[in-house]
């Protein structure tokens, strides 16, 4: 090789990354000896590799999993599945040792173990009452063992353990917590459950049972056995709403190393505010104007402030004639807030909470070197080498605590049984991986809890629990608000006077809300178990629907099919493959059949062949969408589609006739333009498309008669029909619609972003839009509008603008009993209650239950759409590459809406779109599509690649 024949860069990269053969390397070595330029190039590649190595290490070193990713989260699942795995392995060994018979027995045992872990156990023979108890999925084994113990003591009561993750649709094992809305869901599904009292809100009577009377009549129930502060968290206005099981307290964590370095003595129990201030000042490190290390950070001011204020002022709430009164304007409270604010504004030893996002503040102690920070005892495991001490004191100590405990649902039919169960639970040791302190003295003693802790930790926790106080959240948030106002420059007295007034209003409101009668509901009974010799199937319902509807259907189904027990679980709808691998049958999106491997779900043809009449009631258009290569893969369940909504008030005011299903698209455009009075003092706009001007432009242009693709799915964006339709669309938006102020720039990029689900667009909500399109599902979900709304079908156009999305019932290809699943999904598909959206069967569309559920106008509009000729095509008919070519069409519409003549804009993009589609012919996969897009249009902005 001559010196001027330099090796290519990729060879030098390979050299730098040691991926050459010896021979190749030798060749390059010889070249290097003679070529200074290549030595420099190689040095560059080596340096680049080094930079990658160091930067990646530094970047990834900086990310850490949350504290919820820990062994305790997987341990129960691990132990359970490991036992099954051990059985499986043993069974293999047995097969070789003693033959098939023994193996079958062991496998059957292992299988029964799996089933037992997935489902509630059947009630012991002879039991009279069954109650359900909800806990997190990973705790099920723990509580199942306790339920077994309980049934021995109370043979008349069987406890079925259910999962809050399933009830609320959370992913099992995820690190998410149950929200307060979910608590109500859990209370509707289980007789008793474990949760935090904070989740009960201000009307606990709507969720949980008032236990005061039962506790009073139960002679074996000893109130004094509970840590007083813990029990107080479950009491409200003298009523008892639950029983605590574990408590956590607020404390100060301190970094021993930093204290040692600064020569500051470790804080001790009983330390004063002055000690605290002194330590914070000495441990704050500054570099010029910058704080390099804060002496103190408080992510929990809503808890620390009531505690500190209580120390100075005594109880912050008193009761006069049973009405609670807060005393936040007390001079001692004023002094407390002033002092705490001085840590930030005067001494600059505490991180200013206003300079940082709340979530960042929460994670600050995990990511920064800090001398001291406020935190709860649940973090002890995360800061094992860190010292802890109670909050500093300036009077009678007062320590905020939080707790978890057991509740009985307000809808239970088995109060006594549920009460016995939760009192039994409260007497048990804590769940093995709990990081809390038992709330009952007898449990503390029985488990020798304090003796198992490090003595210094035990001393702090004991001290805290002896001085626990609990305040309603409104006190903490009020003080926090005042504190933040002071940091922004407000006078302390004024800030506290302001929150004092609002806090007292809220306290009075809460006291009055607690007196209101409870909401009435009934907890569904436990899921049925199959008769001997019967079968059990698992069905997954959508988490966003009402899973109780399905549970009620199970009861009805079970009466007619006693041999089939259906276990219902709720989870967000995911891919067909995911769902098919998790359960026997499920609700999924029909559209995914086109995108996924259809064999994940069962072909229903053989089952249908036994009784083809089951299909008679379905609208054919939806059945067609369930077919892949002649195989029907699911039964349609319900649909969502766009309808035309209009303001009756505006139409009445303007004397215009209401829209009807007989309108043409052109009539809608004309009416929209005619109704628009954009410059008037109270402007009226004719029409607003649900997703804004850009996102569904292609759908509207097709609907208005634009033929976007030819028979071979090649783009025809410069076709005269497209140009004419695009002109009409631009006229509709610019002359018949509101200003495009609600549009976001990113909406122009092929509709990647979504409009917010669950709200009306601003101009619609404001009441100055005469007509708008919306999805039925969104309209139902969104807040009621302040004017009378009419509903009509969108006019029939050249393409189907309403584009219904379809949910269907599927049977997994791995279903344990396809016949049983088939019986169940045939049953479900025929029930009006299961169809929570638009009906896909004639019988349901005519059924009063369904009509009442969706409303007569919606039902009539939907029937009108279904009665149309099925000739209008849907955009769903496009191929994936045609669909992607709409990217360029959207660009043209964007240009046209900015003033470029549609013909000009469309002609420009047609060249690129056609080049893209041509390039993709015969090619498959994302990489090929990306390459083609870049070739057709080097300026194309493609979605980030995976």
């Amino acid at each position: 090789m001559k010196v001027r024949d330099h090796p290519r860069d990729e060879q030098w990269i390979a050299y730098a990354q040691y991926s050459l053969t010896d021979a190749e390397r030798e060749t390059l070595d010889r070249h290097l000896v003679e070529c200074t330029e290549c030595r420099q190039r190689l040095a560059g590649h080596v340096a680049f590799g080094r930079r990658l190595h160091y930067d990646l290490r530094a970047d990834l070193q900086a990310v850490r999993p949350s504290r919820h990713m820990r062994f305790a989260s997987v341990a129960p699942r691990l132990m359970r599945t490991r036992r099954v795995e051990m059985f499986r392995l043993q069974s293999r060994r047995v097969v070789s040792a003693v033959g098939l018979l023994a193996a079958v027995a062991i496998l059957a045992y292992a299988l029964s173990g799996i089933l037992a872990s997935r489902t509630s156990r059947p009630a012991p023979a002879g039991t009279e009452i069954s109650i359900t108890f909800a806990c997190r999925d990973y705790q099920r084994d723990w509580y199942q063992n306790l339920a077994d113990e309980f049934s021995k003591i109370h043979p008349g009561i069987a406890v079925h353990i259910v999962s809050t993750d399933e009830i609320t649709g959370q992913k099992a094992g995820s690190s998410t917590v149950i929200s307060s809305d979910d608590t109500a869901k859990v209370a509707h599904a289980a007789d008793a459950f474990v949760d935090s009292p904070l989740m009960l809100g201000t009307r606990p009577q709507d969720i949980v049972l008032d236990l005061t009377e039962m506790a009073g009549h139960d002679t074996s129930f000893v109130v004094d056995d509970f840590l007083p502060g813990a029990l107080a968290l479950f009491q409200n206005d003298g009523r008892l709403w639950g029983l605590p099981t574990e408590v956590h307290s607020l404390l100060i964590f301190y970094n021993r190393g930093l204290f040692d370095q600064a020569g500051v003595p470790y804080p001790q129990i009983g330390w004063s505010w002055a000690d605290f201030m002194d330590a914070a000042i000495r441990l704050t490190i500054r570099e010029g104007d910058r704080i390099k290390q804060y002496g103190y950070v408080d992510p929990w001011t809503r808890y620390t402030l009531p505690s500190l204020a209580h120390q100075k002022a005594g109880p912050l709430i008193t009761y006069e004639h049973e009405i609670p009164l807060a005393h936040l304007d007390d001079q001692s409270v004023v002094g407390t807030v002033q002092w705490y604010a001085s840590l930030v504004s005067t001494y600059a030893v505490m991180l200013d909470p206003l300079t940082i996002e709340y979530t960042e503040l929460q994670r600050y102690p995990y990511e920064h070197s800090l001398a001291m920070w406020a935190g709860f005892s649940w973090d002890l495991d995360n800061f094992r080498d860190t010292g802890i001490v109670p909050l500093p004191e300036a009077g009678e100590p007062a320590v905020p605590i939080s707790a978890n405990g057991y509740f009985v649902s307000a809808g239970t039919m088995h109060r006594e049984a549920a009460w016995r169960w939760i009192t039994f639970l409260s007497e048990q040791p804590l769940y093995r991986y709990s990081s809390g302190t038992p709330a009952r003295k007898s449990v503390l003693q029985k488990t020798r809890y304090w003796k198992q802790l490090d003595p210094s930790v035990a001393a702090v926790l004991q001290y805290n629990l002896e001085h626990a106080v609990g305040y309603p959240g409104v006190i903490g948030s009020g003080l926090k608000r005042a504190f933040e106002q002071v940091l922004q420059g407000a006078r302390v007295e004024e800030a506290l006077a302001e929150v004092q007034s609002s806090v007292n209003d809220r306290l009075a409101e809460m006291a009055s809300e607690t007196q209101q009668p409870p909401a009435k509901f009934v907890v569904a009974g436990p899921m049925p178990t199959p008769t001997p010799g019967g079968t059990q199937i698992h069905f997954r319902a959508p988490a966003d629907g009402d899973v109780e509807v399905y549970r009620a259907l199970v009861d009805r189904f079970h009466r007619d099919h006693p041999g089939i027990a259906v276990q219902v679980e709720a989870a967000p709808i995911s891919s067909l493959a995911d769902q098919a691998s998790a359960v026997d049958c499920f609700v999924g999106y029909a559209e995914l059949l086109q995108a996924e491997e259809p064999n994940n779900v069962l072909s229903l043809n053989p089952l249908i062949a036994e009784d083809p009449r089951v299909l008679d009631a379905f609208y054919p258009t939806f059945l067609q969408r369930m077919q892949i290569a002649g195989e029907i893969r699911g039964l349609p369940l319900d649909a969502d589609a766009q309808l035309l909504y209009y303001s009756r008030s505006l139409f009445d005011r303007l004397g215009a006739p209401y829209p009807t299903g007989r309108w043409t698209p052109q009539q809608l455009v004309e009416q929209a333009v005619a109704l628009t009075t954009a410059g008037a003092p109270e402007p009226v706009y004719g029409f607003y498309p649900r997703d804004g001007a850009y996102r569904s432009a292609a759908d509207y242009v097709a609907w208005l008669g634009g033929k976007l693709f030819d028979a071979a799915n090649r783009s025809t964006f410069d076709d005269p029909t497209v140009i004419a339709a695009a002109k009409r669309y631009v006229e509709l938006i610019l002359s018949g619609g509101p200003p495009m102020t609600e549009e976001r720039p990113e909406d122009r990029l092929s509709g990647v972003t979504s409009t917010t689900w669950g709200i009306h667009p601003g101009s619609v909500a404001a009441g100055n839009v005469a007509m708008w399109s919306d999805w039925y599902g969104n309209h139902r979900l969104s807040p009621a509008l302040g004017f009378e709304v009419g509903i009509a079908p969108l006019p029939a156009g050249a393409a189907q603008l309403e584009s219904p999305t379809l949910r269907a019932l599927f049977i997994s290809a791995q279903a344990s009993d396809p016949q049983a699943c088939w019986a169940w999904i045939v049953f479900v598909s025929a029930q009006p209650e299961a169809s929570s959206r638009l009906a896909v069967r004639r019988d349901i569309a005519a059924n009063d239950t369904w009509r009442n559920a969706v409303g007569a106008e919606t039902a009539d509009a939907w029937l009108s759409i279904q009665s149309r000729e099925p000739s209008s095509q849907s955009l769903w008919a496009y191929s994936p590459t045609a669909y992607l070519a709409l990217y360029w069409f959207d660009q043209a519409i964007s240009e046209a809406l900015s003033g470029t003549p549609p013909a000009t804009a469309l002609a420009a993009v047609q060249v690129k779109a056609a080049a893209f589609v041509d390039c993709t012919i015969g090619q498959e996969g994302e990489e090929a599509w990306r390459t083609c897009a870049r070739q057709a249009d080097p300026d194309a902005v493609l979605p980030a690649g995976d």
Partner: protein, 191 residues
Amino acid sequence: MPDTDALIQRWREGDQSAAEALYDRCRDSTFRLAYGLLGNVAEAEDAAQDALTYVLVHIERYEPERAAFSTWLHMIVVSRCRDRLRSRRLRLLLWQRWWAQEGPPASPARPPESAAVHAQERSEVLLAVQALSQPLREAILLRFWAGHTYQEMAQIMGCPLRTAQSRVRLACQRLRQILAWEQSAELSRAE
């Protein structure tokens, strides 16, 4: 500190504390690899948790004579991340309009204290790596972050040795383009 092999052996014999120790030892690195591949903390946690659970449950399947434990673990992590990326790609390419109409699945709220690692600032290099295609991203992370040999990378990625090598080479080329890395500028800085 007991070595990994000793922990594996103890866990195989049923010692749960060994499983916990193994988990703790591998937790951060498993999460970081998943984060590098997925670029999303919540998804990375789920994928890492799945992988660690799989590895601990199926510890009998680990054959030390065939691969180092880290190679086996990383193979599972890569596989779990690929599953997640596959489902993401599907959404991205075909259903973006439809998901938008339907509304994205509600993202569950995390407790404040667990938000500890969200929105981590990513450097230019990590962002560039995450902009690579999936196979190239795997190659870069396994080579430059995890320090695997090409042989191990081929095992983890399930590809021939030469493919692993060419992926590293291609990834370096792409990264240099993305980062507009000027060799001369870097050299002068190094001096």
